[in-house]
Every structure is written in structure tokens, then in C-alpha cells.
């Protein structure tokens, strides 16, 4: 029996191993398995659906501390996971007459754990007698090869995965309950305020950046701007000092340069060669996909996962930036050469020595992300297609020659002042030719001037500029920071980044801290800063890695994590009252800011609030006096985006103004927008956008 991770993977594996390439799919109610013949072996290929088993608390009570748990079928923890039940039953039933069990899940921590738990709790077999298939892509040759060279189970990897779940469960459950119960005690409300081992530090990074931005006070500087003439052609020159720190210095430079004739002193040429970027690992893929395609890291991971299940690319959850020697690069390129879009490039590369550039980072289990060269079995969606193109082009580019460019600079002199004009010339595109649309540069030729020419400085100005605050995080930059700080793993980070937003701690995609985010951050920073500190998490992360390398074991790491947690919870309990009060104050501010939109214009003493229709689920603005049957004032709201009230009223109709943050777009309108005489143009534009969007959604899987 081969235990796989998903139905698509099961089918791929069954097809690859079946001698006639047509395994039999046996349907059992809502689920199924595959039977195939491989030489003298009869194989049964079953599938999980990700994790079939999850941790559940074994002691009673929704309280803390709660330290004991056990693995149970997922549907016992998550009532919605009803599809898991028949799968476990099927695997259990099929496991009775099996000679050998083989784990054929993804070769990583999570996959190994899924395989192990399935063997233990569904197959009811001793995992130490089972074997492991190791593969990095779902291509036939690789799967065959993995089946012919079975390994033992990697127990340190499994233990490390297991403890990650246990520790995350311990910290997540207990800290979230502590926060939630503190609020309940202080105000009697039941509002779940969650945090976790990695989420706390992630929130803290966002909050600290927000503080810097909120406290930012710009400083002035001046930039000298010169418009000059040479042979009747206009030139823009830059002054050799980019920042002039006082207005008076600026003025005196302007005075001494204006209307003078400067001389071209020298033309410098600096040739720069740039090697190709290394092959993609998950995080560099995520950041390039965000930069060029605008995909959030979690979306990129989902799309890459689906390309992997489609045999189009290798396993995406990798840290490696290297393509190992044993990888058949030639076969991949030959495969790609049969695709129309890539044929020419692949053929050109095949003529060369096939020596890819390698990065520094490695991964014990998988090579860098690369195309398999196989045609995807299923038609790609437009988004998958774009990501696939990025991956293929990056793969091509690692075989490319260096990019050669010339930086040109003419130095123009008047007395003790120097002025520059610059140009950039690409001599040879090299690898950038393959990277194509994902390579951006601004080529600019140097004006036609020679040393000794005179140049008339006709207009000289000092323009006032101001220093800029640090940028807010975006999903990709927060992910990068977590990686740099060694927090979380490549498979968990993008989910954590999403959770900071989805739990309401930030507003929209821009990682602007919300009032709720402030409330939690400030309270913890004040009373329980250890829950925000990356130190504790980083230490645990290291110990979990040590398990993987056999340097320590699960029991001692778990014992330490428990002791640590208990002391945090003890300290929390002592300060519970203050923590509760502060969170409640913060929550009140949050609710006030997000839901209240000022006094009702109809009845005067009610307050307008954002409410959700219980019937349609649509949100609108209603009056707080509605319940008493006193006032029926309502206003429609845009259904997408985060709405926050602004401290101003509409200049056309005097109604409350709001800000709507939707995706990367921000717009301001009034709550009376559908009726407001000043906003009919806006309404038309929104309608147009909407119909365009729905057309786009029809052609593409929605994001």
C-alpha cells in the first residue's frame, strides 16, 4: 500500500508505477483508491486529504493551562471535516492484507508526518517497518526511480513535525484562551482574541514599523535642478551633491550657476557585468511573483503547489537555490523545447555547456524550483500560466551569459561646482534575454557631447524636498523578514502573514495596524512582552531543527516548551485583571472606529453603525435606534473592502465621509454615495470597474 497526500498525487503515482500506465480507480462511496500492477507487485494507492488527524485536548474545560492532547481523526476537532471520515475508514479496511506499507507523501516535514500518522492511526501498522519514497517532482521517471530505491522512514523529520504541531497547539490554545478569558472577566464579553508562537512576533514587527511611521517627522533638503543647452538641445543635469541641507546654501549655488557656461571635463565609462540570479527557492519565487505579478505569497504557494501536482514543476516548498548534478537538465530542456513558447530558447541553451549558476542556500530534501519539462496534464489557469512562465524563464536564465552594461557619466564643471549627466547602455543582454518580461531596466543614451564642449546653464533651481518614512510592510516583505529572523518554516510563514491580516490586526493589504492590532500589541508590550518577543520562538525553532538533525529529542524539547509556557501563563494570570481592562479599552476604541459612523441624520440621537443583513449577508449602514423601532434610516455600503470613518463630512450633501480600502486601492466617498449629487460620476466608474472585474473573474480563477 502506498499512502499519498492528495487524490491528484495518488493518481499520478498510480499511473507512473502501473506497468500498463492505466491503473484501476476503485470508487467507494464518496472516496476512492487506485489499484495497479508493477512487475510482480500488486499495489494499492490510497490518499489522505492533507492531515487526517489533528491534536485534541484531553482534559476538560475551555480554560488554561491545558497541556495534554492526543491525535484524533480530524472530524472530531473540526466538525466541518466530514469528508475525512470515509477516507480513514477506507484506508483502515484496505490495510488488513498488506505486505508492505510505503509512504509516498510529499517529501518534507508535513508530508512525512501525514504519512506517519496515517500508518499509525488508520493503517494500524508499526511505522518502523514501513518504507519511504523520496521524490522532488511528480514525473514518471522520478516516481519510478523513487519506488525502485525505497528508504527507511525519516524519524527525526517526523518527530520534528510532530513537535511543531504540539508546540504550536500548546502556545496557540493557551495564549488565545488567556487573552479571551481576560476580556471576558473584565467586561463579560466573549470575543476571541488570538495569538500564537509566531503570530505574536509578526504582529510586533508590524506594530514597530507602524510606530516609526506615525512618529516620522520629515526633514527638508534641497535638490539643484539644472536645465542646460548644448547645440540647441535641452539637457537635464544633476548637481554633484544630491542633498543640499539648507535653503541658503541652495540659493547661493543657484546664484553662482545661473546663466553660466560650463565645460565638459570628462566622460567616464564604467562597465558592469551582472551574473544571472540563482534558481528559485520558495521565498525568492514568492517575492518575484509579488513584484511582477502582484500575487500574495500564500497565493503563489497555492499556485506553485497546483503546478507541482500537475507535474509541471518540481516541489515548491524548498529552500534550495541549487540545481544538483544528478538532475537531468538536458531532458528538462528537451521537454521544454517541445513547447511552442519556449522552443527557441530551449534549443539555444541546449547548444551550450549546461552549467547553471547556483545560489548559496541549500535544502536537504529538495532541489531549487524548476520546470520538469513535462507538459502539464491539466490545462493551466491564466494565473498558473503566468507563474509557470516566471519559473521557466528563471530556469532558462540561470544558463545565460552575464549581462553587460555600461554606466556613462559626463562631468561638467563650472568653477568649483560639478554637474553630471548620465546614460546607461546595455552591451549584451545575456541571461536577461531569457528572463524577458521579468527583467526591467531603463536604458538611456548619453547626450551627444564630447570633452571640452561648452554647455550653457540656462535655468537653475533649488527644489525643496523632504525625507521619507520607512515603507509599510507588504505580504512579501513581512514574509522575508520572518525568514531572515528564522521564525516559522517555509510552509507556515505565508499562512502566518495572512493571519495577521485576517484576524483584523491590520487594515487591508497594506499592513497598516488596526485599532485592534494596537490594542493587542500595546497590552502585550506593556504586560507580557515575552508573547511578542521573537527570542522565545527563535529558540524553539532552533531546538526543533536540532531534533531533525538528531541533536536532541522530542521529549526534552516538549518538556522545556511546557515549562516555559506554564511560567508565561502564571505571570499572565497574575496580571489578568490589568490585561483584561486594557484589552477591553482597546476593543472599545476598535469597535468605535470600525463600526460607528457618527450621529444619525434622521432621528438625531441614534448612532449610525455598519451592520450585516441576517437575510442577505450584505452590509449596510443602519441607525442604533432601529431595534427600538424608532428609526429606520439606512444607507447602502460598497460590499468589498474595509470601511473606516473619516473625520469630515461630504462637501456636496453633508453626510459622513468614509474611506474604503479594497485590495491595493483606497477611495473616499460619503455614506450617502448612491444618492449624493456630487458622486454620480464615481458611481458610474465603480459600475464600469465591476463589470470589467466580473468579466476578468469569468476568465480566471478568482483570487
Amino acid at each position: 500500500m502506498l499512502v499519498t497526500e492528495k487524490p491528484t498525487a495518488a493518481k499520478k503515482i498510480a499511473v507512473a508505477l502501473d506497468d500498463s500506465k492505466s491503473p484501476r480507480e476503485v470508487k467507494k462511496g464518496r472516496t476512492s483508491y487506485f489499484e495497479c500492477k508493477c512487475g510482480n507487485d500488486d499495489l494499492v494507492v490510497v490518499y489522505a486529504l492533507g492531515h487526517l488527524f489533528e491534536l485534541m485536548q484531553t482534559e476538560k474545560g475551555w480554560t488554561y493551562p491545558r497541556l495534554e492532547n492526543e491525535w484524533v481523526p480530524k472530524y472530531e476537532v473540526d466538525k466541518k471535516a466530514t469528508n475525512i471520515k470515509p477516507i480513514i475508514a477506507l484506508i483502515k479496511g484496505l490495510s488488513k492484507n498488506i505486505d508492505m506499507f510505503v509512504v509516498a507523501t510529499d517529501y518534507d516535514i508535513e508530508g512525512s508526518l501525514i504519512g506517519y500518522l496515517t500508518l499509525l492511526y488508520a493503517c494500524k501498522t508499526d511505522p518502523s517497518n514501513a518504507k519511504r519514497m523520496r521524490f522532488s517532482s511528480l514525473t514518471e521517471s522520478e516516481l519510478r526511480n523513487a519506488f525502485d530505491n525505497l528508504h527507511e522512514l525519516d524519524f527525526p523529520l517526523i518527530e520534528s513535525g510532530q513537535i511543531r504541531h504540539e508546540v504550536d497547539w500548546l502556545y496557540g490554545i493557551n495564549m488565545t484562551r488567556a487573552l479571551t478569558l481576560a476580556i471576558k472577566k473584565a467586561a463579560g464579553w466573549f470575543k476571541i482574541v488570538s495569538t500564537g508562537r509566531v503570530q505574536g512576533p509578526a504582529l510586533s514587527f508590524v506594530a514597530q514599523r507602524e510606530k516609526e511611521i506615525n512618529l516620522f517627522l520629515p526633514l527638508p533638503y534641497w535638490m539643484i535642478q539644472v536645465v542646460a543647452y548644448h547645440n540647441n538641445k535641452e539637457l537635464e543635469l544633476e548637481y554633484f551633491k544630491r542633498h543640499i541641507s539648507t535653503v541658503s546654501d541652495g540659493k547661493s549655488i543657484v546664484e553662482s550657476l545661473s546663466d553660466q557656461t560650463a565645460i565638459v571635463d570628462k566622460i567616464n565609462r564604467r562597465t558592469v557585468t551582472q551574473l544571472p540570479h540563482p534558481p528559485f527557492n520558495l521565498s525568492s519565487l514568492q517575492s518575484e511573483a509579488y513584484r511582477h505579478l502582484g500575487y500574495k505569497p500564500s497565493r503563489t504557494l497555492d499556485l506553485a503547489q497546483s503546478l507541482y501536482l500537475n507535474s509541471a514543476i518540481s516541489y515548491p516548498r524548498t529552500s534550495s537555490e541549487q540545481l544538483p548534478d544528478n538532475l537531468d537538465l538536458k531532458a528538462i530542456l528537451i521537454g521544454l523545447s517541445s513547447m511552442k513558447t519556449y522552443a527557441d530558447m530551449a534549443v539555444t541553451i541546449l547548444k551550450g555547456p549546461l552549467k547553471p549558476i547556483q545560489g548559496k542556500k541549500t535544502d536537504p530534501a529538495h532541489p531549487a524550483i524548476h520546470p520538469t519539462g513535462e507538459k502539464p496534464t491539466k490545462k493551466l489557469t491564466p494565473s498558473e500560466q503566468k507563474l509557470y512562465d516566471l519559473i521557466v524563464r528563471r530556469f532558462f536564465s540561470v544558463f545565460g551569459e552575464p549581462l553587460v552594461k555600461d554606466h556613462l557619466r559626463a562631468d561638467i564643471i563650472w568653477e568649483n561646482h560639478k554637474l553630471y549627466t548620465r546614460g546607461l547602455q546595455i552591451q549584451k543582454l545575456g541571461w536577461a534575454e531569457y528572463y524577458g518580461p521579468f527583467f526591467k531596466t531603463e536604458e538611456k543614451s548619453l547626450p551627444d557631447i564630447s570633452e571640452g564642449d561648452s554647455i550653457h546653464l540656462s535655468s537653475v533651481k533649488a527644489e525643496e524636498k523632504h525625507t521619507l518614512p520607512p515603507a509599510r510592510f507588504n505580504p512579501a516583505s513581512l514574509l522575508k523578514l520572518l525568514e531572515r529572523e528564522n521564525l516559522g518554516t517555509k510552509s507556515t510563514r505565508s499562512r502566518i502573514v495572512d493571519s495577521v491580516r485576517s484576524r483584523g490586526y491590520t487594515i487591508a493589504d497594506r499592513f497598516e495596524l488596526s485599532t485592534l492590532g494596537y490594542a493587542l500589541y500595546e497590552t502585550l508590550d506593556h504586560y507580557m512582552s515575552v508573547m511578542l518577543s521573537p527570542e522565545m520562538t527563535r529558540q524553539l525553532e532552533k531546538e526543533m531543527e536540532d531534533i531533525q538533525q538528531g541533536k536532541t529529542d522530542r521529549d526534552s524539547v516538549l518538556a522545556k516548551a511546557r515549562t516555559n509556557l506554564l511560567s508565561i501563563l502564571k505571570e499572565f494570570k497574575e496580571k489578568e485583571e490589568q490585561i483584561g481592562e486594557e484589552l477591553v479599552k482597546g476593543l472599545q476604541r476598535y469597535w468605535k472606529e470600525t463600526e460607528e459612523l457618527g450621529p444619525c441624520p434622521k432621528c438625531g440621537n441614534g448612532v449610525l453603525r455598519i451592520v450585516q443583513s441576517p437575510k442577505t449577508g450584505k452590509r449596510f449602514v443602519g441607525c442604533s435606534n432601529y431595534k427600538e423601532g424608532v428609526c429606520d434610516q439606512t444607507f447602502p455600503l460598497p460590499q468589498k473592502g474595509t470601511v473606516t470613518p473619516l473625520e469630515k463630512t461630504c462637501p456636496y450633501c453633508d453626510h459622513q465621509m468614509i474611506k474604503v480600502l479594497s485590495g491595493r486601492r483606497t477611495w473616499e466617498t460619503c455614506i450617502n454615495w448612491t444618492e449624493c449629487p456630487g458622486r454620480q460620476e464615481d458611481l458610474k466608474a465603480l459600475d464600469e470597474r465591476r463589470s470589467k472585474q466580473s468579466k476578468k473573474d469569468d476568465g480566471e480563477d478568482s483570487s
Partner: protein, 71 residues
């Protein structure tokens, strides 16, 4: 402990810790602005609140100072 007149958080000195830091920044940076641009205190406050990249707490504190001083 009473509350910050700007945001309602608990107050440390004149303001909460955020607005206090913002207030200190505004006072401290005036010297640099004065040397660089030769502005009076009042001109400086107006200038800062007009610049888009000025932080939210700085802006709020300036608004408060201007209201108090009737500027």
C-alpha cells in the same frame, strides 16, 4: 491616571507615551528646520502638518498645540 487629551490612552506626562514622543520630536526637530529653512515656530508647525509623509501622531500633536495656542 488620567487620559491623553488626543487619543484617550493612559497618559504619562502631558500625553500618552506615543503622543509624548511625538511632542518631543516636534520640539527637538525644530532646531534643524530653523537652521535649514529659517522658519519661525508657527511657520514650522504649519509646514510640517502640510507635508504628506508626516506621521499621524506628529500631525495630531501639532493640531493640538495649534489649537491650544490659538494658532
Amino acid at each position: 491616571m488620567s487620559i491623553c487629551p488626543i487619543c484617550g490612552r493612559d497618559k504619562q506626562d502631558k500625553f500618552c507615551s506615543y503622543h509624548q514622543t511625538a511632542y518631543d520630536n516636534v520640539k527637538e526637530m525644530y532646531g534643524q528646520w530653523k537652521t535649514a529653512a529659517g522658519l519661525s515656530w508657527e511657520e514650522y508647525l504649519h509646514k510640517i502638518s502640510d507635508i504628506e509623509s508626516t506621521g499621524r501622531w506628529i500631525r495630531e500633536v501639532i493640531e493640538f498645540i495649534m489649537q491650544q495656542d490659538g494658532l
